[in-house]
Symmetry: D2
Subunit: 311 residues, 4 copies
C-alpha cells in the first residue's frame, strides 16, 4: 500500500469520525479534562519506512494520561530489568483500572503495570535514587528523545488537579506501601505519577514516540537500541493483554493491535514491523477508553490488514 | 527458513525437552490422566505451505481436554454468530479456570469462552436442537474433518471419569442454570462437555485440525472457508488473551503466540499466516498449563521469529 | 406482666399488622410460596410458665423453610457434637443466603450453619448412617416431639418444587462436595434438605417447638434435657448473629432477640428464660426476612422489654 | 451472688490466667505495643449496685485502641442520631478489621462502626464543626466523665507511632473520601482517630467508663441519661454482632456478652442490668482479640451466669 493510499484511509476515517454522533463522554473528574471539546478527533501514523501521515486534529496536544505508562514501564525495565516482575504481575486484571480488591487478595502486588496500582509501582521504581523533580525530568526527556521533539511538555495544572482529587490513588499507594511494595513516601511516588500522566502530546508526537516498539526496540532516527527486540515484543504483549483495563479483551478481539489508552482520550497503537499509531478523541466508552479512538483503530486495522492476528 | 531448518529446530527442541528434569506434575484428578507417563514430549508443526513436520512423541494420542474449547467455540459461533457474546464475555478472567466467584459478581455470565464456565455455555449452545449424542458426534466429526483424519476418537473412559468426579463443574453449570444461562438440564450440557474434552488426538492430528486458524479461516486441503478471516482473527485474539487461564498474560509475554492449553498437557498454537503448532507434554505448571509445552513454544517462537509481536 | 397483658399486646400487634399496607413481597421462586396470601399475619408466644398465647392467623400452617435449620443444627450437634465446627463456621457471613463467593475463598467451609451452604452441611451430618427417608423421618419426628404435636407434616409438593428449581443449591452442594465437605451424593443431602425446609407448621406449633431453647435446653413438658444449657445458649447466639442472613445485624439492632427466619415468612424468636415466639407473615423485606414479622417482633420486644440487651 | 463471691471468682480467674502459657502474641506493628509485657492480666467489674471489684493488673493503664470506638460511636450518635446509618452499616463484616474489599463492593459505606473503616467515618462525624484538637479533647473528656476520672490520658507517643505507620488506614480513609464518605481531609480525621485509639486506661477505669451501657444508658453516679435506654441496647447489639471483627460470631458463641476488643489487649464487656467488665491481657489470638481476655470473659460469664443467652 502506498503512502497515498494510507493518506486516503486516514482521511476517510477522520471524516467519518468527525461526523459520528456517538462520541462517548469526556472524563469529568478534573476540570481540565471535563472542559475538552468532545468533537475533536486526530490520528497519526508513523510508518516504519519513515513516513508520518496524519489527519484530523493531529497537532493538538492532549493529556496522554495512562498512555505514559508505556514509557515509564520501559524506563523501569531499563533500570532494574526483570526483577520488576517481583513487584508487579503480568496478567490482565479482570477489574476496573482503579480496583483495590485484587491488591488485598494478592498481598499488595498489582496484577499488571498498566492498571493504576501497577503503574504507581513502576513509577516508584523510576523514582528510586532520584528526587521527584529529577524523576519527572527524566521521564519527560525520555519521551522527548523518543519523539525527537523537545517541545513536549507537562501540563502542571493537570498534575495539580489530579493531585488535589486523587483520593483513590492515594488509597492504592498507601495500601501497597503497607505491604512494602511502595518504597518512597506514597505522596512522592504519586507526585511523579501525576506529572507523567499530565504530559501533553499531539497524535503526531505520540506516534513518533512509539516508533521504537514497532521497530524491534530501535530508535528509527538513530538506529540505536532503546530496548532489546525481545523487550519490545514483551511490552507489546502487555499492551495487548492489559492495555485497555477491563476492555482489553474486547479491544484485542475487535482491533487486534497492541495498544495503550488514556483517560484523556488518546490511544497509542503498535503494529510490529509496520507502524506506530496515535489516535485521540476525548469521549470515552464505558470501560474508560476512547470511544472513537477504538473504532478508528478497528477501521484502520481492517483497512491496512494490520491485525497481529491476520493470516 | 527451509523445511530442513524447521526440522532441525523441532528436533533440537524435542531433544532438549526430553532431557529436562523440570517436567511439572501430571493432573491427578482422574486416574486416566494421573497414570500418563510424564516423560513424554511431542511437537508437530503444520506449515501453511502444506508441510507437516514433527518430532518426539508426536503420534501418541493424548486427552486434548480444554483444547477442544477452540473447536466448540468455532461451532457455536457458526451456529448463532455474535449473539453468543450475550451469554459469555470476551475478557480475561484474572481467576483460575474453575472459579465461581466471578459468576456471582456478574450474574451468571462467564468472563470468556475458555474458562470452564464459559466453555460449558458454549457447549450448551452447540447442544441446542440436538440430542447429546448427536452433539457429541457433530463436534467429533468437525474435528475429524479439520484434521482430515477419521481415526480421531473420544476416550469414553476419560469422559466417564470426568463425569464421576466433576462436582465443581456441576456446581458451575447449575449456578449458571439458576441465572438461565444454561438452557438444558445441566447434566446434559456437562455430558457433552465431558465428551468433547475427552477427545484423544496426537500432536500431528491437532496441528492439522488447527490449520484453518493459521489460514485465515480456510481449510487448506479444500480451500473452503471454515470461518471468515475476521472470525479466525478473533478466535486467535481470544486464544491469546484467555487461552491459558490465569497464566494467559505470562504466556503472551513469553511466547507471543495465540494458544489454547489443556490439562492433558497439550497446547494448540496458531501463527497466523505461517503455521499451526501442537505440543504435548503431560506435566503441568502451577497455572495448569503444560510446563514443557510452554517452554517449547517459547523456544520455537524465538527460533522462527514467530511471535505475533515481532517487528 | 400478666397473661391478660400479653394477650392485649399480641392482639394489638396483630391488629396493627393486619392493617399495614407495607407487607413486603412473597417469595416467587416456587408456585407454592408465590400463591400464599400476603395479607396473613399470625403470632404465638409460648411463655416459660406454660401459657400459650396467640393472635391473628396463628393456626394456619406455613412452610417453615429455613427456620427448620435450627432443629437440624440441634440434631447434628447431638449426633457429632463440636466436631461439627470443623465443617462449618460460626461467623456471620456478610453475604446473601445463597452466596458461593465465600465458599471459594474459604475452601468449601460455609461461614455458619444458617446460610444455605452451611445448612446443607448440617443436613449431610444428619443424613450420615441413614437412608434419606429415614433422615427426613427423624427430623420430622424430632420437631413433632418438641411441639408435642404429631400432626405436623411435610408438604411434599413444596419439597418437589424446591428440588425441581434449586439449581443454586445444587451448585452449592456440588461445590462443597468438590472439597469433600459433603459426604453423600449431593442430590441425597439436598433431598433431605428440601424436605425439612418443606415442613409446614402454624405459629402455635412453631412457638411450642422452640420452647426448649428458652428453657435452658429442657423440654418443658417433661423437664428432660433436649440439649445442655450451654448448647441452648450457643444455638441462641448463632441465631442472633447469623439468623437473618445479611440482615442479622440489623435484626439484632432493632429487635434484640435471637431469631431464625425462613423465606416462607416465618420467624422463630427465643427470649431465654422467658418465652419462645413464632410470627408469620409471608411478605419479605429486601434481605429475605418477613417484613411484618420483623416489625412485630420489634414491637413485642419493646412492649415486653424482652431485648436480651435490655438493662 | 455476694460481693465476696464475685471477688473469689475474679481472683480465681486472675490466678488461672497468670499461670497459663498460651498467652497469644502482642501486636508488633508499633514499638509501643510490641514492648508490652505479655505476662500481664487484669480484670475489673463495675457492678450495677455500685461495687467495683478487680483482680490482677487492674490498675495498669494500657492502650485501649479499638475499645475507644464504643465511645466515639456514642458521641457520633448523640451528635447526628440515626442519620449516621446512612454512612455506615450495622452488619457484621465477615472480613478482617482492615479489609478494603467490602468498601469497593459497597461504594465506600463500611459494613459497621467497629471495623477500622467504619470507625474512621464515626470519627469524621465527631470531628465535624471542630478543630482536630478540639475533637480529641471532647472524646477524652467524655471518657473521663463516664469513668469519673480526670487522670485518663492520651499516650501521644502511641498516636504518633500509629500515624507514622498507618498506611492501610490512610488507604481506607482516602478510599472512602473518594466516595465522599469522609468529609474532612483524610489526614485530619485519621489524626483524631489515632488519638482516641491511643487513650490509655486501666481495667478499673474502663469498667467504670462502660457502666452507662449496663445501666440502660444512665450514668450511675448521677443518674442522668447519657443515651436513651433504646440506644444503649442498640450499642450493645452492635458490640455483640460486630465487636470482635471476624471473631465476633465465635465470641458471641463462647462468651455471650456484648464486648469490644482492642489490639492493645483490652476488652470492654457489658452485661445489661448487671455490670460492665474490663479485661486486659496484651497477647492476641489469630483474630486480633485478647487471647486470655476472651477466655477470662468466657469463664466469668459461665461463673456468674451472665451470658445474655442464658435462660
Amino acid at each position: 500500500m502506498t503512502a497515498a493510499d494510507i493518506e486516503t484511509v486516514l482521511a476517510d476515517i477522520a471524516a467519518e469520525m468527525a461526523a459520528r454522533p456517538d462520541r462517548g463522554e469526556v472524563a469529568t473528574y478534573i476540570p481540565q479534562l471535563a472542559k475538552v471539546d468532545v468533537d475533536q478527533f486526530g490520528i497519526a501514523v508513523a510508518m516504519n519506512d519513515g513516513q508520518l501521515i496524519a489527519s484530523g486534529d493531529a497537532d493538538i496536544p492532549f493529556s496522554i494520561q495512562s498512555v505514559s505508562k508505556v514509557f515509564t514501564l520501559t524506563l523501569a525495565l531499563g533500570k532494574i530489568g526483570d526483577t520488576l516482575w517481583k513487584r508487579v504481575g503480568r496478567e490482565p486484571s479482570g477489574n476496573p483500572f482503579n480496583s483495590i480488591v485484587q491488591l488485598e487478595h494478592e498481598h499488595g502486588i498489582p496484577r499488571n503495570p498498566f492498571i493504576n496500582a501497577g503503574a504507581v509501582v513502576v513509577t516508584d521504581v523510576v523514582l528510586a535514587g532520584h528526587e521527584p523533580r529529577e524523576a519527572i525530568g527524566e521521564i519527560l526527556r525520555f519521551i522527548q528523545f523518543l519523539a525527537d521533539d523537545e517541545t513536549i511538555y507537562i501540563d502542571r495544572e493537570v498534575a495539580a488537579s489530579e493531585q488535589a482529587t486523587g483520593y483513590r490513588n492515594v488509597a492504592l499507594a498507601n495500601y501497597m506501601r503497607s505491604f512494602g511494595n511502595i518504597t518512597h513516601a506514597p505522596e512522592l511516588s504519586l507526585g511523579v505519577y501525576y506529572h507523567h500522566c499530565a504530559i501533553a502530546m499531539s497524535c503526531r508526537q505520540l506516534a513518533l514516540a512509539g516508533r521504537f516498539l514497532a521497530h524491534g526496540g530501535r530508535h528509527p532516527a538513530t538506529g540505536h537500541s532503546v530496548v532489546s527486540a525481545e523487550r519490545a515484543r514483551r511490552i507489546c504483549a502487555l499492551m495487548l493483554t492489559c492495555g485497555h483495563y477491563d476492555g482489553s479483551g474486547d479491544f484485542a478481539f475487535r482491533v487486534g493491535i497492541p495498544g495503550k489508552s488514556g483517560v484523556g482520550g488518546g490511544i497509542l497503537g503498535v503494529v510490529p514491523g509496520e507502524a506506530s499509531v496515535a489516535v485521540w478523541s476525548p469521549g470515552l466508552n464505558s470501560s474508560g477508553n476512547s470511544q472513537l479512538g477504538s473504532i478508528a483503530l478497528e477501521k484502520l486495522a481492517k483497512a491496512m490488514n494490520w491485525s497481529i492476528f491476520a493470516a
